[in-house]
Amino acid sequence: MYGCGFSAFRLEARGAMKAALVSAENLQLSLQPELSQEEQALTRARRCHDHKEAQGPGNDELKEMLESNKESLKLEAMKRIIGLIAKGKNASELFPAVVKNVANKNIELKKLVYVYLVRYAEEQQDLALLSISTFQRALKDPNQLIRASALRVLSSIRVPIIVPIMMLAIKESASDMSPYVRKTSAHAIQKLYSLDPEQREHLIEVIEKLLKDKSTLVAGSVVMAFEEVCPDRIDLIHKNYRKLCNLLVDVEEWGQVVIISMLTRYARTQFTSPWQEGVSFDENNEKAFYDSDSEEKRDETETKPYMMDPDHRLLLRNTKPLLQSRNTAVVMAVAQLYWHLAPTHEVSAVTKSLVRLLRSHREVQYVVLQNIATMSIQRKGMFEPYMKSFYVRSTDPTHIKTLKLEILTNLANEANISTILREFQTYVKSQDKAFAAATIQAIGRCATNISEVTDTCLNGLVLLLSNRDETVVAESVVVIKKLLQTQPTQHSEIIKHMAKLFDKITVAMARASILWLIGEYCERVPKIAPDVLRKMAKSFTSEEDIVKLQIVNLAAKLYLTNSKQTKLLTQYILNLGKYDQNYDIRDRTRFIRQLIVPNEKSGALSKYARRILLAPKPAPLLQSAFKDRDRYQLGTLSHSLNLKASGYQELSDWPAVAPDQSVRNVEVIEPQVNEWVPTVGKSKPAKSAKSEDKFYSDSEGEQVDRKGSKNSSSSSNDSSSSSSSSSSSSSSEGSGSEESDEETSDESPKSSSQSGEGSSESETDQKKEKNKKNTDSKAKSKAVNSESEENNNMVSSSSEDGSASSSSDSDSDTEQKKSSSRSKPKVHERPPKEVSLLDLDDVAPSAPTTPKASAYSPSLLSDLEGLSLSSVSSPMQVTVQPFGPVKSHELLHHMSGKGLSARYHFPRQPFLYQPSMVQLQITLTNASDQPLEGIHLGEHSPASLTLHRFSPVERLEPQASVTVSMGIDFNDSTQAANFQLCTKEAEFSVSIQPAVGELLLPASLTQADFEKEQGKLLGMNETSATITMAEGHCSSAVLNKQVRSMANLGEVITGHNNTHRFAGRTVSSGALVLVTVEKREAADATITVNTDKSVMASMLLRDLKQALASA
């Protein structure tokens, strides 16, 4: 069949050639100066404007040079012509002169002529035909470079008449011995297709042939051709699928990108979804993510447990190493492949690499950030550990800043919101006002998404109203307005506050917005609204137009709700408005008057005035701009532009039932030694017969096969492939067990899928074990893993998944508004996970934790306090339950504090705001009979001391007390922190000297870990003392209590009755502190402290000695 088509082509090509030659002959005659009339008419129009530049005196000279006999002159002329082309000037005049040199021996000259030819052939089709025979001859040249470049140029000449010639050349080159020529022919396919789409069928034949090619050189180009000519002919891929997967690593980088994106599409049509609930380790998690589109999937999962097709796994496994590519496009391609194809818990494998790309050029960052923004909406957990990589630098370009902000907003949850808001607070002050405005929008979004911080965000935003910059003010008002609309129940306080601030605000837009708010919710602020109206009536004439409009609006609304108090005022304002200079205001006044003041003319309308003016307004939706971008495949141009680019191919949905798998089986692969590849080693015979179930040996056989085509690197590759098989052995074993399960099927189907899953987990776990420098958080979540594995009712999860699942928890927390009763207990269920999200790795699970909300509301409040740029205090009151081993210390006596007394204690909790700080709570009591106002922190020393201030207490009534929390970074020293406690009238210097035990946070270690760590901290790092214990301290329980009340340490469970171990970390630097108390005979005991903070060790030892020895 092929041969038949071939000869037909030959015939056609001959015909075309003849025609070309005839026309060329004709043309040679017509090359004489006199052009045909119509030609002249057309060319004149075109040429006259570039005549001056291009055709100046040089053109004739160039022509002469080209026609001379000297090679160097010709070359020089060509170079100048190329210069003209590069500048975009027209050099088509010289076409006849140039084309004559197409057969020149000088290769550089020839190349330049080619460049010229490709550029102008389309415009000078007939002349271009003159060169065709030269190329045809060159296609037969023994030198592969010449053959290839002839094909390149021939196919680049966009002259429809030579289509048959091109077709013939492509067909011949496709079976050329040189892979380089074959590659060129793959490129030529696309060119011919764009020139003449009618050739599609013939081209597909060539593509089919080239797809079978084993050279890595050809693979990328032919897949590119496939994508352009026949992307719908997925059937062509079946037989080559495994080969492509296996070759992928060795294909050149550009080819990799194309192949990966093609395989993504392929996999989506051939495999079933790995996202079904059966496989997911956490049902809730899964539902939260895929609730919308998993309707149909759900029924089918009930019938059959999911099992990944080995080919699907093969693709995932073979693309993974490419994440390490230096080519950003390749990394992105793999990332999108994982996103669209991998099981949910494996997707996070790409996170690190994507974050790495952020180090690359600005443009790369832009595209990658866009993709991360889309990903982070669905999967916060993936990027949360890398949150800091998205912090904005003032030197970033605006579009990068906005994208980073977008991602940070997407990542925000209850756990990290305080950190994010603190970061935002820096951004609000940015010089880039557009960015500052975007930040305010982002705060608004955080506030709506995380109900816990809504109020604090609102307060922070209210404070921004007194900013000097108009953009900031206008933006905050708009955001506040939106926020209040979404939460219409509890904001009378804020409206009151805004009303108070009203006098200070000068930006018209902001004033107008506040008036609108007061009007809209006038029933909630019945006392203030009329008062504001009164003030406005006074200043009406001096207000700006938009403000005037809102005054009228406010008056109308008040008239309807509270006509008793405001009737006269409204009348007055309406009268003022009636004679305003602005016609808008006059119109509005007239309209309002007709609407609200009933008279005989207004008729029925005024009855509905209330419903018209006070209709409930729908709340605006604050959501990500990247919300719906996931409809486009990641990494595509369409995704980047958020619109469908021409030629975009939709990613199909997973098929409900997988198509026949056997189509991908390759029958027999003949060992084909490629003679054109410089082979050094002897090519090994490939394994031949492969049965269906031996899939992996199949792929190995392919590898061996490929190795034959490798030269000197093959020897080294042996070792690498052997190592690869060892690294992949675990997973292949896993799949092996899958298969055996299938055969025996005596185990429950669920466990079989688990084992598959488990094996891939173990792969990642292995890797982690290699990384001895594991983070504690990882270690912890691994511990969680092992727990759940023990329980055996949950599929094991990797650490990333742990965070993902807990982040989805927080997702569900945002829904709390609706069903707080449901999700509240969940928060309590998983305190360790919540904590691990906070990066506070070292909190022992045993550490007392208060109910969450009260635990961090003070710190959150103080965060938001930082949002203020002025010193206006927030109107919120703070109360916190003291808890923990309360040993409170005096900070300020009421005698020296003029009635203000302050006591502090260490709640022994990690400070949420800044993990390196020690949290302390200060109870302020007013012992005087006067209310105290404006209690806040003043100057502090030493200067290096960092502390986190508590939010100022606006007013403290007599005998009232309030507890505020603050954080101090003691930097692991017991140096006293001095600062001033100020009221409105006076300042008091106070100082806090922490006991060394308070600078610690408990760490939970196993006995083995403890001993290992202790082993590292010997010698200088060990301090010990022997003491005689006081009576009654000998029992373990008492001893424990004594030590732990002395220092904030966690107990290490030991089997030993006489040895007690405690572990902790310093708050600031996280250095390990290990304490061992070993009881000897009688009441003697040895206390050993191991830590590399030697000063702390000795102090801690002293304190412990005291605590245990004393009565």
Binding site: R359, E363, G647, K773
Partner: protein, 485 residues
């Protein structure tokens, strides 16, 4: 038989009169592509109506899928197109107008969005070395693919000409054209590996240019470079050196944000290993580290055998000839990052709005006993700052009133005598007190130190007999190091 428009087309417009039977449709495709490719003013006015009247339905023709990168325009800082290259039919310069529009809107050239959309094309651009590289594409293509390629083009130019600037490109326009021709075929990358390119097109040197003009020999290789065919395309065969050397530079950069109080908001270390390998034959190298666990995330030159790294944490590779980036890495985020310097800053503006004061002191923090060199502090001042009159105890400062950038070049940091820069700032008359404080960027260099503590253990060579000369150098630099105020 023939359609009317084919007849009405004059010869020179690019359509053949010698139409054969059955060529009718092809002719029309050519017309569509012609229209696509020409900017409006290039189409003779006589042509358009005849197309519209055409009895054939042009809409029904299939959309012709085209290649990845269609055209490339090089645009200089002031917005002149000084080079264009088309890999297919010509696209008129007017397409750049959409880009210029976006450029107008952006405050800085860096702010121009890299991906733009026009009615018929998509524009993807990069900005490097004060030049815009603007590529035109017509259909869906991964934007990163194009961006990465454009950066590769710039790197190739730098490799060939030492720098990538307008003058250099204009001077070497022929070589540039030859390179672009080799790098892309029909819009799809063909040869981007600099070793292959250099074998095909020799980089220009003064000597060679002279010899070429005298003898008429060319810059072109007549044979296909061996690299193009082998599975190690990055290395050419038959390399010979009298002195066999292999040098590796471990360069680490600290990216950090430090807040007002000196607390580190975030800090991380990124490193690259730049290699210069001049070895005869086909050496197979193995580089191992003392502490490979430090490395958290890595990316490699294609020559590195990834599986070997996965299994043994050693770099095993057949190196390209000459300079290349062997690997880049990210240091485990959990390791604490040593911040080598601190900057004590006090920048304040007077309430009255007439001026302000600036006081900067730099000092060493955690330098591991090494000297900090090349210390440069850059302050981006608020817009209202007109001028600065300052005195520096060390180094020199410049203030550019146009860009509002204060650069203080300190040089070597002397721990005994801390450099200080202080003085007054004057504000624009009538401008209110700036609310925002400027941010400070720091550049520095520490020789003989990899701040992460990464150490190369040993370098072994297999496959060749001779004994090469080996060397490893460590440098630490400040990357994106910013102090917030």
């Amino acid at each position: 038989m023939y359609c009317s428009c084919c007849f009405s087309l004059p010869n020179s417009s690019g359509f053949s009169v010698a139409t054969m039977n059955g060529q009718l449709k092809k002719c029309h495709i050519a017309i569509t592509s012609f229209i696509d490719s020409c900017s409006p003013f290039l189409i003779p006015s006589s042509l358009s109506p005849s197309l519209c009247d055409s009895s054939h339905n042009l809409d029904s023709l299939p959309i012709v899928a085209v290649e990845m990168i269609h055209s490339l325009f090089l645009i200089n800082h002031s917005g002149d197109i000084f080079l264009e290259k088309h890999w297919k039919s010509v696209i008129g310069r007017s397409v750049c107008d959409y880009f210029f529009e976006a450029k107008e809107k952006a405050a800085e050239p860096e702010d121009v969005p890299p991906v733009l959309q026009t009615p018929h094309h998509y524009l993807i651009s990069i900005y490097r070395d004060r030049l815009f590289f603007l590529s035109v594409i017509q259909t869906e293509a991964p934007p990163l693919f194009v961006i990465e390629f454009l950066h590769r083009v710039v790197e190739t130019f730098q490799d060939y000409f030492g720098e990538c600037s307008e003058t250099v490109i204009k001077d070497n326009v022929v070589t540039v054209y030859e390179l672009l021709e080799e790098m892309l075929d029909n819009g799809f990358p063909l040869a981007t590996e600099s070793n292959i390119l250099k074998e095909m097109i020799r980089p220009p040197t003064i000597l060679r240019t002279m010899v070429n003009t005298l003898t008429g020999t060319s810059n072109f290789e007549e044979r296909l470079p061996s690299g193009q065919l082998s599975t190690i395309p990055w290395r050419r065969s038959g390399v010979k050196y009298t002195n066999n050397e292999a040098y590796f530079d471990v360069i680490e950069e600290i990216d950090a944000i430090v807040d007002k109080s000196g607390t580190t908001v975030c800090a991380e270390i990124q490193g690259v290993i730049e290699a210069c390998v001049k070895l005869t034959g086909m050496p197979d190298l193995t580089l191992s580290f003392m502490n490979p666990r430090l490395l958290d995330d890595v990316s490699f030159h294609p020559c590195v055998r990834f599986k070997r790294w996965e299994a043994e944490r050693v770099l095993s590779f057949i190196p390209p000839d000459g300079n290349f980036t062997l690997m880049s890495y990210h240091v485990n985020a959990q390791n604490l990052v040593a911040i080598p310097v601190y900057v004590k800053q006090n920048i304040s503006f007077f309430e009255s709005g007439s001026g302000g004061r600036l006081d900067l002191t730099a000092g060493p923090k955690q330098t591991m006993g090494k000297t900090v060199e090349g210390l440069v502090i850059t302050v981006h001042m608020p817009k209202a700052v007109l001028s600065a009159s300052l005195t520096a105890t060390q180094g020199s400062y410049t203030y550019d009133p146009a860009t509002k950038v204060l650069v203080w070049d300190i040089g070597r940091l002397n721990p005994q005598k801390l450099p200080n820069l202080r003085g007054s700032l004057s504000l624009q008359a009538g401008a209110p007190k700036p609310e925002d404080n400027p941010s400070i960027n720091i550049a520095l260099k520490i020789q003989q130190l990899a701040i992460s503590g990464l150490k190369v253990n040993r370098l072994d060579m297999y496959g060749e007999k001779y004994k090469p000369f080996k060397g490893v150098k460590y440098v630490t630099k400040a990357g994106k190091f910013q102090v917030r105020t």
